[in-house]
């Protein structure tokens, strides 16, 4: 399970809520939106990357989503949490992309496989293999099931939160998750005993990135 959305630590961030930042942004504070981006970019990246399964596509989707959020901040009504609103924009950007894009041709992996056979990389971890297998398996699911599983099973959101993000009833989220898991079970069952993987959390990754 993921940690809950990071709460700003008093040491390095003033106690300003996301909603306050959004209001400041609407009122013309040129730094407010970047703070929102900083707070949530890792989470949005994870959602987009897992939903789309392709870093380039995910980068485009997250960028579109943040630019769109920046522009339409004024339409944010405040009944939902800012994070939910951002998630919705990101998920919709991903779903749009998936719908627009025809099925990708299967890449010609023969060359790489050949290269990998004769030069195995020692630091290739089990973790990364599992991650790649999971990505590949998720791509086999219909988009709505994939989006539900990413939010609930991968990102650790409650069914209710996911329902808000996806703008569907909780029961719909549950049944999408159920159908998705049923499809993934035969594909991923062999990983059953390897699921005690150590996790590289977003926080750790961010630390590595930001120094």
């Amino acid at each position: 399970m993921n940690s809950p959305p990071e709460t700003p630590s008093p040491a390095d961030r003033p106690a300003v809520s996301d909603a306050d930042l959004l209001t400041a942004h609407i009122n013309g504070d040129p730094h407010a939106f970047s703070e929102i981006v900083k707070r949530h970019r890792d989470r949005m990246w994870a959602v987009a990357l897992r939903t789309l399964g392709d870093p380039d596509e995910a980068a485009d989707a997250v960028q579109d989503a943040f630019v769109s959020a920046y522009r339409k901040a004024g339409t944010f009504r405040g009944e939902a949490a800012v994070t939910t609103w951002l998630h919705r924009i990101v998920v919709n950007a991903c779903l749009d992309r998936m719908r627009r894009k025809s099925i990708r041709p299967v890449a010609d992996d023969e060359l790489i496989e050949a290269a990998e056979r004769d030069s195995p990389l020692p630091d290739q971890t089990v973790e990364r293999e599992v991650s790649m297998e999971v990505s590949a398996a998720l791509k086999l699911l219909p988009t709505d099931q994939r989006a539900a599983l990413v939010l609930v099973d991968m990102m650790g959101y409650s069914v209710e939160d996911a329902a808000q993000v996806l703008d569907v009833p909780s029961g719909t989220v549950k049944s999408r998750c159920a159908r998705g898991r049923a499809k993934l079970a035969p594909i991923l069952s062999h990983l059953r005993n390897r699921s005690d993987l150590s996790r590289v959390s977003s926080a750790k990754g961010a630390e590595l990135r930001d120094g």
């Binding site: 040129p30 990357l49 870093p55 920046y70 790489i112 049944s175 159908r179 079970a185 059953r192 005690d196």
Partner: protein
């Protein structure tokens, strides 16, 4: 439905989500109590949740974060240029922003020289300006300092050191504009062609012949700490692969800063090993792959 009739994964998954009506749920539970295969399936379903939850969620790569900052900064400028409200994004806290933005149009000093433009010699000897790969480029124009450094390369010097003599198949790089001549020591010092295209490579692109990506970028010489770092990194890669490095490009891989190292695996057939390493620790960002020139 008990005894020899089993339930499929869909029904079991719905049971787990409490989506079955009470009567059906009771029947399935009774069946599960006596049926090992169905119990196994239920465990498989639980494993799916565990595997998904245990899959790491990576942090956003810095390249992507910078790209978003840039897009939002553009929004801010646009808003300002229309006299609209201010509002938007601060750039101050972005790591290495100054470094990366020094060549951006709004920060470039007015008197900065136009970077020397490179051309490619076509088969018939005419000089074709090197095309800029605008699409998906996440860094910007070549910094003036890099342009000066790039002046260290001339086709003949490179060819004389045997770098591009791959059976004459690769185009030679020459300058269109006047540029200071490089010293031959500089050109010879490195046994491979070093470029700084800033291009963001994807797996798909790396499967294409690399010539199209690496050859058009200006070759740069040594002298700066950055370039020395790259040299160090490249020699580490060469030690690991035990192959001859042919061309090195500084750019990105899936939005992360990366050095692309191409080494000959089989020069006759134009087959290369491609190492993608991060410029800070020289660690491979992905498995080495087989590429073509």
């Amino acid at each position: 439905m008990t005894g020899d009739t089993h339930y499929d994964l869909d029904v079991l998954a719905e049971l787990a989500e409490d989506l079955l009506d009470a009567g059906t749920a009771r029947q399935v539970r009774e069946h599960l109590a006596v049926c090992d295969p169905c119990g196994e399936l239920l465990a498989d379903l639980a494993a799916v949740r565990e595997v998904l939850a245990a899959t790491p969620t990576p942090a956003m790569p810095m390249g992507v974060a910078l790209r978003i900052d840039k897009a939002l900064a553009a929004e801010l400028r646009e808003a300002e240029s229309y006299g609209a409200r201010r509002g938007g994004v601060g750039l101050a806290e972005t790591p290495d922003w100054d470094e990366l933005m020094r060549d951006s149009p709004w920060e470039r000093p007015a008197e900065a020289p136009e970077p020397a433009r490179l051309g490619v010699v076509a088969e018939d000897g005419t000089i074709v300006p090197a095309g800029r790969r605008a699409a998906r480029r996440r860094r910007w124009a070549m910094p003036a300092v890099a342009a000066a450094a790039a002046a260290a390369v001339v086709g003949t010097a490179v060819v004389s050191s045997g770098l591009l003599a791959s059976g004459g198949s690769g185009p030679d790089l020459v300058f269109e504009a006047d540029a200071p001549s490089p010293t031959r020591e500089e050109a010879r010092a490195r046994a491979y062609a070093l470029t700084d295209s800033g291009h963001n490579y994807s797996d798909q692109e790396l499967r294409q012949p690399l010539e199209g990506f690496l050859a058009p970028a200006p070759i740069i010489n040594g002298g700066s700490p950055d370039v020395d770092k790259v040299d160090t990194c490249v020699s580490k890669v060469a030690t690991r692969s035990k192959l001859t490095t042919y061309a090195v490009d500084q750019g990105q891989y899936n939005g992360q800063e990366a050095i692309i190292v191409a080494s000959w695996k089989d020069k006759a057939s134009g087959r290369l090993r491609i190492d993608i390493v991060d410029p800070f620790n020289c660690k491979n960002l992905r498995k080495p792959m087989l590429g073509r020139w």
